[in-house]
C-alpha cells in the first residue's frame, strides 16, 4: 500500500517547475496591475501634471506652477459654477434617492415573486441610450412639448411656457431621472438582503410597520443607500451632456466648462485644473458618505 502510494506521489513532486514562483505571482496579478496603471494611475497623473503646467495661447509650456488653480478660485464665475454644480448634483441625487429607495422598499416587501420583474422594469430605461433619455425630457418640457400641450389643453395656461426648459430646475429634474435606476439598484439589493423573518420578529415584538422600518430595516439598508447615493452623485456631478441639452445658461455645470476648456478654448491646463477640482470635491463627498456605510452587523 505505502509503496504504491509513494509511486503515485513521486512523479508529481518531481515535476519541473517551469515558472519561478515570484514571476508566477507577478503574472497572476499583472492584469489587475495593468488595469490600475493604465486606466487609473496614468490618466490621473497626466491630468494633474497638465493642471500644473502653463498655457501660452494654446501651447503648453512645461513650467510647474499653481497659476491655473489660483486663477480658478479667484474667478467668481468658477466659484458660482462649482456651487451650482454641487447643489444640482446633491439635490438631484437626493431626489432620486427619495424616489428610488421607497420604490425599492415597496417592490421588495409587496411584490412577492414578481419583485424581480418589477425591478427589471424600473431598470429598463438604462438600456436606452443616455442621449435619447435626455432628449426625451426636451420633448416633454419644450415649448411645443408634451407638458405644455397638456397644460394648454386643460386650460391652465394660455400660451406655451418657455420657463420649463433651460433652467437649473430642468437640469435637476433630468439628472434625478438619470440617477433613479442606479440608486434603485443599490437600494433594491440591500433591501432584498434583509430576510423576511426580521420583519416578522420585529412585528412580533410589537413594532408597527413604520417602527420596524425605522429600527430594523433602515439601519440594515443604510449602507446600500449610501452606495447608491454615491454612484448617483458621481454620475450627476461630472455630467455635461444634460446641462448642455436642457440646461441653457442658468443650467450650466462644471462639466460643460471642462469640455469647453479642452475644446473650443484650447486651454488644456485650465480644463485639467477644473477636472482635478471636480475629482477632489467628489472624493470629499464620498468620504463624508462613507461615514454612513459602516455597519457592524452580519446578516445571516
Amino acid at each position: 500500500m505505502a509503496a504504491s502510494a509513494a509511486r503515485y506521489l513521486e512523479p508529481v513532486a518531481a515535476l519541473p517547475r517551469r515558472i519561478p514562483r515570484p514571476l508566477k505571482r507577478f503574472l497572476l496579478v499583472s492584469p489587475a496591475l495593468v488595469w490600475i496603471v493604465c486606466l487609473i494611475l496614468l490618466p490621473n497623473a497626466f491630468l494633474i501634471s497638465y493642471s500644473l503646467w502653463k498655457n501660452e495661447l494654446g501651447t503648453i509650456l512645461h513650467v510647474w506652477n499653481v497659476h491655473n488653480y489660483t486663477e480658478l478660485f479667484s474667478s467668481q464665475v468658477f466659484i458660482t459654477l462649482l456651487k451650482r454644480t454641487l447643489l444640482i448634483a446633491v439635490v438631484s441625487t437626493t431626489c432620486a434617492t427619495l424616489i428610488a429607495y421607497p420604490l425599492a422598499y415597496v417592490v421588495v416587501t409587496r411584490f412577492g415573486r414578481y419583485k424581480t420583474l418589477a425591478a427589471l422594469l424600473i431598470i429598463v430605461p438604462l438600456w436606452v441610450s443616455y442621449l435619447m433619455r435626455v432628449f426625451a425630457w426636451k420633448i416633454i418640457l419644450g415649448e411645443n412639448g408634451v407638458l405644455n400641450g397638456l397644460l394648454k389643453s386643460i386650460g391652465l395656461i394660455e400660451k406655451p411656457s418657455t420657463a420649463l426648459l433651460y433652467s437649473t430646475t430642468t437640469v435637476i429634474v433630468t439628472l434625478t431621472y438619470v440617477a433613479i435606476p442606479y440608486v434603485f439598484l443599490a437600494s433594491y439589493t440591500s433591501l432584498d438582503r434583509v430576510p423576511k423573518h426580521y420583519y416578522e420578529a420585529s412585528s412580533d415584538c410589537g413594532a408597527s410597520a413604520w417602527r420596524t422600518f425605522r429600527h430594523v430595516v433602515w439601519p440594515l439598508t443604510r449602507p446600500g443607500v449610501a452606495v447608491g447615493f454615491a454612484i448617483g452623485f458621481v454620475l450627476t456631478f461630472g455630467d455635461y451632456v444634460t446641462p448642455q441639452m436642457v440646461g441653457g445658461l442658468s443650467g450650466t455645470m462644471l462639466g460643460s466648462i471642462v469640455l469647453q476648456s479642452f475644446g473650443t478654448a484650447d486651454n488644456w491646463p485650465q480644463g485639467a485644473a477644473i477636472g482635478v477640482t471636480i475629482i477632489c470635491t467628489g472624493l470629499i463627498v464620498l468620504a463624508l458618505l462613507s461615514l454612513f456605510t459602516r455597519l457592524e452587523a452580519e446578516i445571516e
Binding site: 430576510p195 423573518h197 426580521y198 416578522e200 420578529a201 420585529s202 412585528s203 412580533d204 415584538c205 410589537g206 413594532a207 408597527s208 417602527r211 429600527h215 430594523v216 439601519p219 440594515l220 455597519l295 457592524e296 452587523a297 452580519e298 446578516i299 445571516e300
Partner: protein, 387 residues
C-alpha cells in the same frame, strides 16, 4: 379590542409582581388562551390545504406541543396563531376574543424563531430591550428588566455583544430572553432547538421546561422530534397532512394512540391489519387474536408495542400466545430488536437474551389489554416526508 395591546396592563402588573410563580401540577383554570375554530389554510398557488378544518384548544399555563413531520402543517398553525398568516377560513381566538385579522404586533404573543431572528445590528442588550422599547416602557425600567431576563437564561455579561459574536446556543437563549421580556400571554416556539447539537439540545430542553414553570406563561412548542414533545409537554397534538390526528397527554398518546399514524410516529409499534371474527376475537392473516375491546368495523388495525410483547416462557399464560421463528436481529446495546415470524406475519419484539439467534423458534405473547385498536390513517414512513 380585547386582544390585549402589549403595552398596557400586562407590563404594569408584571413590574409589581416580578415573579409569577405557578406550580406546574396545580389545577389550572380552564381558560383557553388559544382556540382555533374550523381553521383552514390554503396557500395561494397550491391546491392542497396546508391546514385543513382544524379545531384546537390550548389552556392557560400549559406546555403544549404540536408534533408532526415537515409539511404536516404544524408551522403554518403556529404562524396563524402568531398572526403572520391569515386563515383561509375559520377563526383564531386569543383569550376568547376573535383575533383573526389582527396584525402580529397587536397580539399579546411572542415567537422564538427557528433561526432566532436576532437583529444583527443591535447588541444583545438592545435586542432584548426591543419589545419593551416598542411597548413604550420608560428607559429606567427597561435596564433592570433586561438584566433580569438575561439572568434568567444565564446570559449575564453578554449585553455588549453583537449576535454574530455569539454561539448558536447563546443566540437561542438571547432569543428566548427577548421573547419573554414582554411577559406575553403566550409564547410560540418554532423548532427552537432545531439548529443545536445534541448535547446543547438536552440542556436547552431543561432550561425551557424550567423557565416555563417559573414564568407560568403558556408555551406552544412546534417540533418534529417526538422525544422532545413527549418529554416537555403537558399535552400535545400530533399532526399529519394538515390535520390533527390526536390531542392528548404524552402518556395517553403513547399508550392509547387513536390512529395508526400516531402509533407509528410515536415510538415503535407493530401495526396488524385485522379482520373481526365476532366478539373479542379477530385474526390477522392466519394469526388468531384476542382483542382488548370489540372493534367498530369488520376491518381494523391493531397496534402492539414491542415492549408489550413478552418473549419466552412467561408468555404462556397470556391471552395471545404464539410460537414464532426468529428472523433478523438488531443489537441495540441495552437490548435486541428481534423480528419474529408467525405464519407470515412479522412482529417486532424486544429481547435481552443473547441466546436468541436467527432461525430459532421462540414463544411470544401479550396481554390483549396491552394492545390498542387504532383508526387507520396511513402509517408514518420516513420516505413519505417532505414538501
Amino acid at each position: 379590542m380585547a386582544t390585549a395591546k402589549k403595552e398596557s396592563s400586562d407590563v404594569s402588573t408584571a413590574t409589581r409582581a416580578p415573579e409569577r410563580v405557578e406550580v406546574g401540577d396545580a389545577p389550572r383554570s380552564r381558560t383557553n388562551v388559544v382556540e382555533l375554530r374550523g381553521v383552514s389554510k390554503v396557500y395561494p398557488g397550491s391546491d392542497e390545504a396546508a391546514v385543513a378544518d382544524m379545531d384546537l384548544e390550548i389552556h392557560e399555563g400549559e406546555f403544549f406541543s404540536i408534533l408532526g413531520s415537515s409539511g404536516s402543517g404544524k408551522t403554518t398553525t403556529l404562524r396563524m396563531i402568531a398572526g403572520f398568516e391569515q386563515p383561509t377560513s375559520g377563526s383564531v381566538l386569543l383569550d376568547g376574543a376573535d383575533a383573526t385579522g389582527v396584525p402580529p404586533f397587536r397580539r399579546d404573543v411572542n415567537t422564538v424563531f427557528q433561526n432566532y431572528a436576532l437583529f444583527p445590528h443591535m447588541k444583545v442588550q438592545a435586542n432584548v430591550a426591543y419589545p419593551l422599547k416598542m411597548a413604550g416602557v420608560p428607559r429606567r425600567e427597561i435596564e433592570p428588566r433586561v438584566e433580569e431576563a438575561l439572568e434568567r437564561v444565564s446570559m449575564t455579561g453578554f449585553e455588549k455583544r453583537l449576535p454574530h459574536q455569539l454561539s448558536g446556543g447563546q443566540r437561542q437563549r438571547v432569543a428566548l430572553a427577548r421573547a419573554l421580556i414582554g411577559r406575553p400571554r403566550l409564547l410560540l416556539l418554532d423548532e427552537p432547538l432545531g439548529a443545536l447539537d445534541l448535547k446543547l439540545r438536552e440542556s436547552m430542553l431543561l432550561v425551557l421546561k424550567h423557565l416555563q414553570r417559573q414564568v407560568g406563561i403558556t408555551f406552544i412548542y412546534v417540533t418534529h422530534d417526538q422525544g422532545e414533545a413527549l418529554a416537555m409537554s403537558d399535552r400535545l397534538a400530533v399532526m399529519n397532512g394538515g390535520r390533527i390526528e390526536q390531542v392528548a397527554t404524552p402518556m395517553e398518546i403513547y399508550d392509547r394512540p387513536a390512529t395508526s399514524f400516531v402509533a407509528g410516529f410515536i415510538g415503535k409499534t407493530n401495526l396488524l391489519d385485522c379482520m373481526h371474527a365476532g366478539g373479542l376475537a379477530g385474526h390477522a392473516g392466519s394469526m388468531r387474536l384476542a382483542l382488548p375491546e370489540e372493534p367498530d368495523e369488520a376491518r381494523f388495525v391493531l397496534s402492539v408495542r414491542p415492549e408489550a410483547i413478552v418473549v419466552g416462557e412467561g408468555s404462556r399464560g397470556l391471552g395471545n400466545h404464539y410460537t414464532a421463528t426468529v428472523g433478523d436481529i438488531l443489537f441495540l446495546g441495552h437490548e435486541r430488536e428481534v423480528m419474529a415470524d408467525i405464519g407470515g406475519q412479522r412482529l417486532m419484539v424486544r429481547s435481552n437474551s443473547a441466546a436468541v439467534s436467527t432461525g430459532d423458534t421462540i414463544e411470544i405473547g401479550w396481554d390483549p389489554a396491552d394492545a390498542v385498536i387504532v383508526r387507520e390513517t396511513g402509517s408514518w414512513r420516513p420516505q413519505q416526508q417532505g414538501t
